[in-house]
Subunit: 359 residues, 4 copies
């Protein structure tokens, strides 16, 4: 985390986490504990956890102890909106929609990791390096606060890999087969009896998201809505016995000719607004080239730049489409908790957090 | 195993196994122990094992004890060709080529699991249900015995799935991403430090085989050689922490229109010569439809019909090619040891084993 | 399974399974499908499953398809006792106690895998090879049917190993550290995020059971109750990423002197009443000696004799107590479903199943 | 790593690593790259690696890239002793003995991770917190440099847990059953086919080391040799599918009475010479108490204090000996590479590195 950049308003602002006890929520809390701009002040969860200390309510699964700054916070019920300018939501989609709306109406800016509002016409589906301009949808929203959404964990790595190619060469068709980590299913998530010595070639709803979300993210802002990109994605999703890190085998068809060197140059040189603004959670280099012939691999490369970078390797031509490659992205850091924080930081730098002046 | 069909000549014939102590060799020995046609008489391996009892030379990895029929056989060195009419080879490609040639020259029919002779012009690359007619290449070989090869483990399941479609609708292009089991790498094979909590998106030489072998297998016999099929395959191969069973996510483009029901009908109704001849190792139904939405899965479906059937599920249309599906095939049974035995049985039924009359 | 022994009454009797959709329930149903004495007629489960076909209600986790004989049975709610003479219960302890009592009062003999009634004074805690005589407690029960219990999965392998030593040499103290499989926790059971690249050195309630149950099982029948054995057990229980098969590192102190050969002789020659009666589920030899220096191992030895045998290896002296060894027992076969069936068979052979004459 | 303490002589000294490409060697190189006292100048390995760049010779298995400071170093053959004052050896025991001797004779102080010299009468078997005084054996050695050895990875965690108890209450007997990580077997180490869905209840030579080494480490220095401690250890060792972190289930008998609180107080308050000297690799608190009921666990607690702390949990009385508990120690950090570095630091602080003045 880039701790050199001071908060826009000069001091940390209080934030809340909805769904703080789950697997993504724990990652959020862990990242927020020492965050230079945000201070985790309110943790909310379901009825089962409400009223208990965070350290007792959360079945902690991350290495190391629960951060002292939050261990003793009392977990509140998600029913009542917290009185903070910025709310991060790691709620399950089954309850996220309404709860997030309530917070936005109460005046908070909500950065959501759930799918509930992703396709709302006036809600940005944000990957800060890719479509920062979509934040201009926010003023079109009817709530006093606002809602920003984070895409699905398998979408983020893919869209980061596509963006530099889309900008330079155009991308027409994408075929992607994923090998997704277990943490993507949350807690309790996938039973161990289902995945030891096994893979599961199906993740409910995942292929639909991965085929649809990139079109909005790579789409063009037209006033109060986004025109979807002219792109076809075919996705096949598999669950594998890996704790963290989604691996994706990708084939792409470009609109114009390019060499392997052209693609590497586009990827390695790619920088977005988070890099220009030196946001605290921004990786210095969003895309890393992995040169070893058998990489990227989840265990070796998921933690590059604090889990915020996408690793790409094995670029080669494809006998059906144009090119093939393998990408890897940390699904609960870049793909969920870290991605949400970066979105919140971008919103704050832009002066979109209620009551806080931007950079 | 179908034990009802008596051996063509009325009694079991003696066979040898080259490379008996490895992971595929152990499977072969295990299947041969109670085989109704073949009797494992000679076990051969590298210098390190030669001269020891099989039970001491093999670091046994299969559930259950070493079969009593072979436990006390002395392992011989692969240098001298065994005096048996039929030899199964599970040797590593680095030594298989020469050793198999020696056996064929000494008068044995060799069924090989190694890649060494797969592309020899006069050597059948055999999947018994798919290209039994390619056995007509044998008389064109120069040795007194002969060589038949078994394709790569990831090829077999794919070709079995393609054959019925190829016959009825024509197959033009195939995109396949594999999630391959560890046993495919043999012993000692993949270090455990490399695959716990990890996947490896690269298997040396595997993609080349998977892109090339189906063309020969699905090709047309023209006298003394095979004309490759007009087919394009794009393969991306991954190693996953699964013991046995290769999972493959496949997209295909057909030459003529077909519905999902047409494909299922072609697959489920498919039968080949092993089924017509009721060969001992032949599955009754080579392709099984898996109806649960999250199947096939390695642990649940790899052992269908003694590991000799291919399981297919998740058939759906593809926005880029025509259809997508998931297939699963046991890599050391159907994909190696069992496939070799079936090839040997077919050769025997056809009267191609030296000195043995066919069915 | 020994299918040569005909049912005592000449034909299969109808049986019911309580909790048929769970991990142990599925094993029971699987074993009952082709059972020579019992016919699975009624499957019962919780409200969530009731009213659905078994094939739809059960999230099937065993290799191979759901047996045809039960796939279409409608699952009933556990509330109403089934009208069959023999009931196998795989219910969770939270609901087992009352449901089993209801069945027993309605006239069925219940063989339970739950802990609810294990310490009831008049209820046998039965391992058929070990304490068949404890079935004489049954007439002392107040219900018209009756209840027999199966011990905890980690207890059964241990008690089978202790019994032959206890008979010949006396056993005074036992120190046992377990490495237990995931299936012991049922379904959904242990989250995969908790055990990939991990072990958990704690299983709630397990150590207490393993320290207490052997005393009752190895105890002496005194009319209407069992006098506990004079034995001290120290247990430390760990969960490891293994699907099936509990491994136990054991140290023992004997009452009288013995050599390693004496112990092996006692174990290998051990036979109990199930062997004398040739019950269908009885292993021919309850305890197998594993001679390889690195055995027994779960994946290699858990399925010996259909998962009903206990494997022992690595016997050596102990510098603190007298001897040390490693044992392995299949926790959902011998340790649960198979153990329950064997208990049911023993009860039936003895004429203890209501309305059925014994052997 | 405590980077606040400056090197005794004011600047980093050049060091060499023997066996730099293996699994422990990689850890050493990784820790040395940014070490405040030591500068990795010479990397040595077997013939196969010699002459290649380190980045090409090492099959890197640690998360993140190879440190830039060493990536381009040419790997030298272990045959010729490096001209540096301090050498860390991660060689396999089969070659370590002679190579280390050669270095010591050439004038370097060697800190070895191999077992070759552990029982040499004049060689310290060092755990810096436990027996720093054993360094006084060094002047009795005949070489101009010297040899210090690091104990076996499973010994270190155990001895750290025993030391505070031994000092206060006396320890008479210890029964320990281990669940050991795969990295302890090095590279290629345990084949993945052997440990997926499995445990292996045997590690060659391990139990002997774990029963013998603690006696020397906890023994009393008597001039030129160490009088072994009066202690009996019974060890049973298992390999489990965990990447890093040895878990040990321990029972102990004390010489004098103590309460659980007494034990916790002894452990948590324990400090050794590395803590007093604030050595760079020293954990601030060598032993951490884990309060959650299901801890310590390898994935959650192995990295405490950079992998240099021992975690203890589940303390409770034992019905056979006095107390039972579970400990966890990182086997390639504290148990190998990190432990060696700490030993090197202690030697340097004491002025035992040739040509370097101590603190």
């Amino acid at each position: 985390m880039n701790i050199a950049t001071p908060p826009p308003g000069g001091q940390r602002i209080p934030v809340a986490v909805l769904g703080a006890t789950g697997s993504v929520g724990q990652r959020m809390v862990s990242l927020l504990a020492d965050h230079p701009w945000f201070e985790p002040r309110v943790l909310l969860a379901s009825e089962r956890s409400a009223g208990r200390k965070f350290s007792e309510a959360a079945s902690w699964i991350l290495p190391g102890p629960i951060p002292a700054a939050v261990a003793d916070l009392e977990v509140l019920h998600v029913g009542a909106p917290p009185d903070v300018p910025l709310v991060f939501s790691a709620l399950d989609a089954s309850v996220a929609g309404a709860a997030e709306k309530t917070c936005a109406e109460a005046g908070s800016l909500v950065v959501s990791n759930a799918r509930s509002h992703r396709y709302d016409r006036d809600v940005p589906l944000l990957v800060p390096e890719v479509n920062a301009d979509h934040l201009d949808l926010l003023p079109h929203q009817s709530t006093t606060g606002g809602i920003i959404t984070n895409p699905n964990c398998s979408t983020i790595g893919l869209v980061l890999a596509l963006k530099p190619l889309s900008d330079r060469f155009g991308v027409r068709r994408v075929s992607v087969v994923t090998l997704q980590a277990l943490s993507g299913a949350g807690l309790p998530g996938v039973p161990s009896m289902h995945v030891i010595d096994n893979v599961i070639p199906f993740i409910p709803g995942e292929e639909e998201k991965l085929e649809k979300e990139p079109l909005k993210i790579l789409g063009t802002l037209k006033g109060s809505h986004v025109e979807p990109a002219d792109l076809v994605v075919s996705a096949q999703c598999n669950r594998v016995p890996v704790l963290d890190g989604h691996t994706e085998a990708v084939s792409i068809e470009l609109a114009s000719g390019a060499s392997e060197d052209d693609l590497w140059e586009a990827w390695v040189g790619f920088r977005g607004e988070p890099q220009r603004l030196e946001l605290p959670s921004a990786p210095r280099q969003p895309i890393h080239r992995i040169r070893r012939p058998d990489g990227p691999q989840p265990r070796l490369h998921r933690d590059l730049e604090g889990g915020m970078a996408t690793a790409i390797g094995r670029l080669r031509t494809c006998p059906i489409l144009d090119f093939r490659f393998v990408l890897l992205s940390h699904n609960t850091l870049r793909g969920a908790a870290g991605g949400s924080l970066l979105a919140g930081e971008l919103a704050m730098a832009r002066g979109l957090v209620p009551g806080v002046t931007g950079m």
